[in-house]
Symmetry: C2
Subunit: 255 residues, 2 copies
């Protein structure tokens, strides 16, 4: 895999200048990474309520004032340029993937930064438990499930999860470690049986890259910050902007 | 003091029928009690954001849809009638205290239920630590402080705290117990020195009733759900409705 950016500022600067367009997993270990969701002020109350009602997939790190682009969790950063990839949805359809959204910016855009499971990965690695997608330099595998979210206004749909294969002997340890990271989706939502949560084939993730699962490993599922993207699509929101899957906003906060 | 209502439903019914208009502290032990804040939909995003940015004074239990009066945390209840007392503020002025607000109801009213420190009092009492205002049948003493809240839109102002005198030997125990109740303001925000947080005279609370402090006791301060009332006043919100201090909405949730 490519060189690791140990510091958030350097990674954001590289993304801003178009020099870095990769998934952020494994970079800036120990710093909180965030999913981005931008909605117009007219939908902001309902989306904030959706987050409040679904804290596992949508743990809020910060909500910016309408029109603001500099988050308190990353002074000097620009939310509209410092992420390695953005997606623009209109009426629930993905219309564009681009490397900045500053040129589309509107004064009524409200930005939500939502915790990301990447944030606990450094802690898991430190405990001596390797994560396959990091080792293989891939994006984590993500799947739509049959687990319903609590609705809020127009926002309704099912939870998206990320999956990591873990050796049986390490499952309890990984649950304990991730459980300490509330702002990074906390403990897993499911362990072991993909069919029970509506996942037909682990080899075909809805987002990110498939990874192999070995005989002595169990697939572990965590609530994922891509959930609001999927829900916004299903809810046919007039417009919303998100990060591209796996390409997060890296904050200056220690996880 | 009067008879205790052990169950939330009976207390709410009595409040609805005008048979109970007292503070709710000490009633329905073990059940979560909630502060109420009702704002028009036009201010609902900013107020929800204020709660998200100030989780110690404003831990959210539930936010109802615009116009809705039946909370999920108390099926069958009516938020507009089942509290022993309400306050109506217009342009930041308290204009009325009344026993129901159903006759004032608007379809754009959004109700916020915010955790209350009463909820941990039963746990403290169970640990063998008496609470003076409960013993004396008074409302808990509440004070405005100099501790600034994080602003959100028009909402800005200082934290209101509740105070309980606790014997020195029990202080650590009370911190530990209340720290487990995130939704009830969690651990204290200050211990021991009222002047340090802008309180000039403990004998003159801004809300509720003064209680005596004995020689071997320390005043302990918790973030208080009256904070949004004070902030709405200071922010001269066009209209908002709250519970009357000490008179809470009692939910069916176990604390």
């Amino acid at each position: 895999m490519n060189a690791i950016y140990p510091q958030p500022q350097a990674l954001r600067q590289a993304a801003r200048e178009g020099r870095f367009a990769e998934p952020t997993s494994g970079h800036a270990p120990g710093f909180l990474q965030a999913n981005l969701m931008i909605v117009p002020k007219a939908q902001a109350f309902d989306f904030l309520l959706f987050c409040q009602r679904n804290p596992k997939p949508c743990p809020l790190i910060e909500v910016l004032a309408a029109g603001a682009t500099e988050p308190g969790c990353a002074p000097g950063a620009n939310i509209a340029t410092d992420i390695p990839g953005y997606r623009v949805y209109r009426d629930g359809e993905l219309v564009e993937e681009r490397d900045e959204v500053a040129s589309l910016w509107r004064e009524d855009y409200v930005s939500f930064l939502i915790g990301c499971s990447f944030s606990f990965e450094a802690a898991v690695a430190e405990a001596g438990i390797p994560l396959r997608h990091v080792v293989q330099g891939r994006n984590v595998a993500m799947y739509r499930t049959s687990i319903p979210c609590e609705s809020a206004g127009p926002f309704s749909g099912e939870m998206v999860v990320s999956m990591r294969p873990i050796k049986s002997r390490d499952v309890a340890k990984v649950v304990e470690i991730s459980g300490r990271f509330d702002v990074a989706h906390g403990a897993p939502v499911h362990i072991g049986n993909p069919a029970a949560i509506g996942i037909a084939d682990l080899a075909k993730p809805d987002y990110g890259d498939a990874v192999s699962i070995k005989d002595d490993e169990v697939p572990i599922f965590w609530a994922c910050g891509v959930t609001p993207q999927w829900v916004a699509q299903k809810s046919r929101l007039p417009v919303c902007i998100t990060h591209a899957p796996g390409k997060m906003f890296v904050t200056d906060l220690k996880g």
